[in-house]
């Protein structure tokens, strides 16, 4: 978080078994790059490309400056040319008021993990043509550019994407502004309280010294009178928030931590003012101001952590396209979504995100609905089928008629489900608030009883002794116990690539007893394994697998990930299939083509080869006996008949079983909840030893499943990634979105794991339980301290300076104890 922290990143050592650029685990054959004169290991070509670029442009210093690993570059981001943004940015430029010579534009850059990243971006962009000034605001992940008229924005965006960051135009929302304003207000309060504390503290030292060595009463009055306006101003300016929130909660009958804080501040201040006016008693101006400052610093640190996360996620939500390609009488035009009427004919290209629900009228395509349904295999869409807004055209092109407008699409229905989930989510009462209620009641009773007792015996002292009880009882330690621990935990998590939104999730996580996993993208990474080969010809299974590998090289269908010839194993000629070998060897001849939603085929002069699903194969060689088992079966055939069947199944992430076992060892129930209706789910659950499986669930079904568990009293943790998980992530007691999750899922989750490693979940859970222990220690300490100090104060044995000292001391203990969260790993 800041520069004084020890650098956790190796600067030049090649011994660590993680990627030097992004810190992910290395594959068995890592890539290498020359960085600052030393060879460093890289986990993927993406990291290598970025690292080479950084060093080639003389910015190798980045690796010395950084305090966090960079994010792994996303492949999709690496080959966008950003030309589509020129229009939208140019449009916005026109609406902005600026003189002709320079223009301002803001870009949102995701993936900047530490100040060195912003240095890198500023350096890189600053040397681009047409850039007059580049300044990164790391809090908002925003790059502010001053450009001359000839600047090429897509090229600038490209140059940032080359560094491995994700970049898009920055959209200023009302929420963004509100958050930035909140940051300023809180900072001003901290500053005023801090300055006031120094000023009042100076006078207080004189007063305390006067108490000990003696002081002329006229100077004592002077000191009191000058402290008074400063303390009043600080309370009015900085501490007003405590009074407001305490009052708002009292009105609703809730006793929160802000109440004893407000009471102590209010009483100590009014008593001090009274003492100053009448010239008797004691003044507590310094305690009032110091207390305010400490509390504000704690809240500021906590708010700063939240600020960045919410900004990044908020801006990400806007991933839907704003325009659609409309086929009109006079050709093809781009039209804004909001202006498209029902029944408009739109064209969808490969790679497009479908903007609206639409019924296809011509063309065949594959739709990737994995974000929507959790189905891992793309759905092939025929004429007359409906494609849904938010899904992606994986293959092919089609024309379609719009059947639902914004607000009534299936995606909008999902969003409404999310809204519903957010409002019905059970809130586990937080420990500190529960204890606060009791504590406040007890303190008030004791203080009142003390006042009554002393009023009967020594009326002049009654007010001061009751006040000493309130001051020494130190709501400060109690008030800091939870936020200090939670904000430290949140920071520690962030350093490990996990973002927690609102620290209450960390506290809730420690109470979880049921863990629910989504399948696709969470336990699996969308790739497949070929686990069984049934040979129907003379060839061995190995040879046929090799043949399939050679064929699929020309397809980008996700299922082809099952046919990857191990790197390093030599290619050899296909002796049995000489004609095919000839074709594959010579670049000029026929290539295998992939057929939407069906498979791959290559047509040669004398023969034809096909790899694909049942319908595709049977088209070539008639009805076939198809293997029956839970696996997804693909056939490989040529015109002489079927050569082999390949049994394919979802590939679990490497660390999936580790994570499942970890949670089981913690005594939790593990569930698998997936939209995939194929037997794949059961297979996967079986191999990971998960007992409870619910497959084929719609997003609403998932929501109901979790609600049912919660109704039975389970405290649920949901881990998912897709749009179809967004509602259930919001509904579960804690929702965690994993790497590459859809933006909507990220926005609804309580925590987001940025690294692509599932075992970060184990670390997160351990940290949450440790945090809980620290909070209990903090509260325990604060209560013990009070149990000792209050009787002394009530007996009238605590002078004001000792009360103030005790208060500060107990707060420091709490803060130091909370810091231990960062240290123990």
């Amino acid at each position: 978080m800041n520069a004084t922290e020890t650098n956790p990143i190796p600067v030049s050592s090649a011994t660590d078994a993680v990627c030097f650029h992004c810190g992910e685990d290395l594959p068995s054959k890592p890539w290498t790059s020359q960085i600052n004169g030393e060879a460093q290991l890289m986990c993927c070509p993406g990291c290598k490309a970025v690292a080479d670029l950084i060093c080639a442009s003389g910015m190798g210093d980045f690796y010395r400056k950084r305090t966090h690993f960079a994010e792994t570059p996303q492949a999709a981001n690496l080959d966008d040319d950003f030309s589509s943004y020129e229009l939208s940015i140019a449009k916005r430029r026109n609406t902005q008021e600026s003189d002709d010579a320079t223009e301002q534009t803001d870009l949102l850059i995701l993936g900047m993990t530490c100040p060195a990243c912003s240095w890198l971006v500023e350096r890189r962009v600053g040397h681009q043509e047409g850039v007059l000034a580049a300044k990164v605001n790391l809090n908002e992940s925003r790059l502010n550019l001053q450009l001359s008229a000839d600047a090429n924005i897509p090229k600038i965006m490209r140059s940032i994407a080359d560094l491995g960051y994700q970049v898009q135009p920055f959209q200023v929302s009302a929420r963004t502004k509100a958050l930035a304003e909140e940051h300023r207000i809180l900072l001003k309060r901290v500053a005023v309280a801090g300055l006031g504390m120094m000023q009042v503290g100076m006078f207080a030292i004189a007063l305390h010294a006067g108490n000990i060595y003696g002081m002329e009463s006229q100077y004592e009055h002077l000191m009191r009178w000058v402290s008074l306006p400063v303390a009043l101003f600080v309370t009015y300016y900085s501490a007003a928030g405590f009074f407001k929130s305490a009052w708002q909660h009292v009105k609703h009958g809730a006793l929160i931590m802000d109440l004893p804080i407000a009471l102590a501040l209010g009483l100590a201040l009014s008593a001090s003012v009274f003492a100053t006016l009448t010239g008797g008693g004691e003044v507590y101006f310094d305690s009032v101001v110091m207390f305010t400052f400490f509390l504000l610093v704690a809240r500021f640190t906590e708010q700063r952590g939240r600020f960045k996360n919410s900004l990044t996620l908020q801006t990400l939500q806007d991933a839907m396209p704003h325009t659609a390609t409309v086929i009109g009488h006079d050709g093809i035009t781009k039209v804004a979504i909001s202006e498209i009427p029902l029944g408009t004919s739109i064209r969808l290209f490969k790679g497009d995100r479908v903007p609206l629900d639409a019924q296809t009228t011509s063309g065949i395509c594959d739709v990737d609905e994995s974000a929507f349904t959790g189905e891992s295999i793309t759905r092939s869409v025929e004429v007359g089928d409906t494609v849904y807004a938010g899904t992606v055209i994986a293959h092919g092109t089609c024309d379609a008629l719009v059947t639902a407008l914004p607000g009534s699409t299936r995606l909008d229905a999902l969003e409404r489900a999310i809204l519903y989930a957010e409002t019905t989510k059970p809130r586990i009462a937080l420990m500190a608030d529960r204890i606060a209620g009791v504590f406040v009641a007890v303190i008030l009773t004791i203080a009142a009883a003390t006042a009554v007792y002393w009023y009967q015996n020594e009326p002049a002292e009654a007010l001061w002794i009751a006040l000493a009880v309130l001051v020494v009882s130190c709501p400060c330690a109690l008030g800091l116990a939870t936020p200090a621990a939670l904000s430290n935990a949140a920071q520690t998590l962030r350093r490990r690539g996990i973002i927690a939104r609102g620290e209450s999730a960390i506290e809730t996580l420690a109470k979880i007893d049921t863990v629910i996993f989504d399948k696709t993208g969470t336990l699996t990474d969308g790739a497949f394994d070929c686990v069984e080969i049934q040979s129907s010809s003379r060839d061995s299974g190995q040879d046929l697998y090799y043949l399939a590998c050679r064929l699929q090289e020309y397809s980008n269908h996700p299922i082809t990930s099952a046919f990857q010839w191990p790197p390093g194993r030599p290619y050899r000629p296909l002796v049995e299939h000489p004609e095919l070998e000839q074709a594959l060897k010579h670049t000029h001849s026929e290539r295998p083509v992939s057929v939407s939603g069906r498979g791959i085929l290559i047509k040669l002069t004398n023969s034809e080869y096909r790899l694909g699903n049942r319908g595709f194969i049977e088209e070539l060689c008639g009805t076939q006996p198809w293997p029956e088992s839970q696996l997804h079966w693909l056939g490989l055939a040529n015109d002489s008949g079927v050569l082999a069947f390949f049994g394919v199944r979802d590939r679990a992430r490497i660390d999936a079983s580790v994570v499942v076992d970890f949670f089981k060892s913690q005594g939790m129930h593990v569930h698998l909840l997936t939209g995939d209706s194929s037997p794949q789910a059961t297979l996967l659950a079986h191999s990971l030893r998960i007992e409870h499986v619910c497959s084929g669930a719609t997003p609403e079904g998932k929501l109901a499943y979790v609600e049912k568990l919660q109704a039975r009293g389970a405290k649920t943790l949901m881990i998912g990634d897709g749009i179809n998980d967004a509602a259930v992530l919001a509904q579960a007691d804690v929702g965690i979105a994993v790497a590459h999750a859809s933006d909507m899922a990220k926005a609804e989750a309580d925590m987001v794991i940025l690294s692509n490693q599932l075992n970060a979940l184990c670390k997160t859970y351990s940290l949450a339980t440790r945090t809980k222990r620290i909070i209990i220690e903090n509260l325990g300490w604060a209560l013990c301290y009070n149990a000792v100090a209050i009787p002394f104060a009530a007996a009238g044995h605590v002078p004001p300076w000792l009360a103030a000292l005790g208060m500060s001391f107990s707060s420091i203990v709490v803060v130091l104890n909370s810091l231990r969260i960062n240290k123990i790993t």
Binding site: K65, P115, A116, V136, A180, K188, A191, L195, Q199, P229
Partner: protein
């Protein structure tokens, strides 16, 4: 000791000026990004952040770039 009656009010006036300065600085956005700005002084090339280049150093940032 009577001088305290004179010196302390002066201290308070300075105090008021400091309050005003700090609030102005925050309102003008100088503290909007606490992470990035804290790093600038530690950067080798921090001259680039200083608006005037002439006479500050014989090497302009561009020169430095080529020597890297």
């Amino acid at each position: 000791m009577e001088t305290l009656y004179f010196l302390i009010p002066i201290a308070l006036i300075f105090c008021v000026i400091t309050f005003k300065l700090v609030l102005w600085a925050i309102n003008s956005g100088q503290y909007d990004d606490l992470n990035r700005d804290a790093q600038i002084p530690f950067e080798d090339d921090f001259r680039e952040h200083i608006p005037f280049e002439d006479g500050f150093d014989e090497q302009t940032p561009q020169d430095k770039e080529t020597t890297l």
